[in-house]
Symmetry: C2
Subunit: 131 residues, 2 copies
C-alpha cells in the first residue's frame, strides 16, 4: 500500500504519516522505487494513533500505548493508569477553561458593546477595581 491509500484509509494526512515514521511510531517497508510500502499492521497502528490523538493523547502517550498494544502480556492496569492520567489532565483543562469562561463572561456581560468608549472589559483587564 502506498502512502496515499493509507492516508485515505486512516484519514491522516500523508505529511503526518511521514512524520510518524520519522519519530518512530511506524516503520513501513520500502519498495525498490523508494516508496513506502505499508502493510496491514502499519495501517492498524496508524489508525490506532489517529484515534488516540483525537482523544487528546500526546505523541509520547501514543508511543507508550502502542508499546503496550504490542505487548500481548501487559497488564491492563498499565493502560488504565495512562488513560486515567490523561483523563485527569482533561478535567484540569476543562476546569481551567470554565474559570476563564466565567471571568470573561462577566466582563462581556458588563460591556454595553455600543459606540461609546467606556468599556468594562478593558477596565477589568487593566486592573482597575470594578465599581
Amino acid at each position: 500500500m502506498n502512502i496515499g491509500e493509507v492516508s485515505t484509509r486512516t484519514g491522516l494526512p500523508a505529511k503526518t504519516i511521514r512524520y510518524y515514521e520519522e519519530i518512530g511510531l511506524v516503520r513501513p517497508a520500502r519498495g525498490a522505487n523508494g516508496y513506502r510500502a505499508f502493510d496491514q499492521a502499519d495501517l492498524y497502528r496508524l489508525a490506532f494513533v489517529g484515534r488516540a490523538r483525537s482523544l487528546g493523547f500526546t505523541i509520547e502517550e501514543c508511543r507508550a500505548l502502542l508499546a503496550l498494544y504490542d505487548d500481548r502480556d501487559r497488564a491492563s492496569g498499565d493502560v488504565k493508569r495512562i488513560a486515567q492520567g490523561h483523563l485527569a489532565q482533561i478535567d484540569a483543562k476543562i476546569a481551567e477553561l470554565r474559570a476563564m469562561r466565567a471571568t470573561l463572561s462577566d466582563l462581556v456581560t458588563a460591556c454595553a458593546g455600543d459606540d461609546r468608549p467606556d468599556c468594562p472589559i478593558l477596565k477589568g483587564l487593566s486592573g482597575e477595581p470594578n465599581s
Copy 2:
C-alpha cells in the same frame, strides 16, 4: 524600574517580558548601561497583557486589545466583539474536551485495570468493534 522589579510586580517572568518587547507589545526606554527602563505605563501594559493571557487571549488578540486600550475613542463594541469571539472559542474548546472526556471515560470504566492482559481501552483505540 529594572526588569526584575517589573517581573515581581506583574508576575511575568523576565524572559517573557523581553519576549513581549521583542514582538512589540511594550517599548521600554533604555538606560545608559543598556538596561531596560520601564515606566508606570509599561508596567500597566504588561499587567494588562498578563491578565488577558490568563484569560486565554492569544498574543495577537492581546495586541488588538492593547491597541483599543490605547485608543481613548474606540467603541466598546469593538472590544466586545473580540471578547465574544474568544468566548465562543473557549466554549468550542470546552465542548471538544467534554466529548473526548466522555469517550475516554467510557473506555476507562470498561477496563478492569488489573493484572490481566485483556484491555478494552486498547481494543477501543485499535478500532475493534466493542462487543
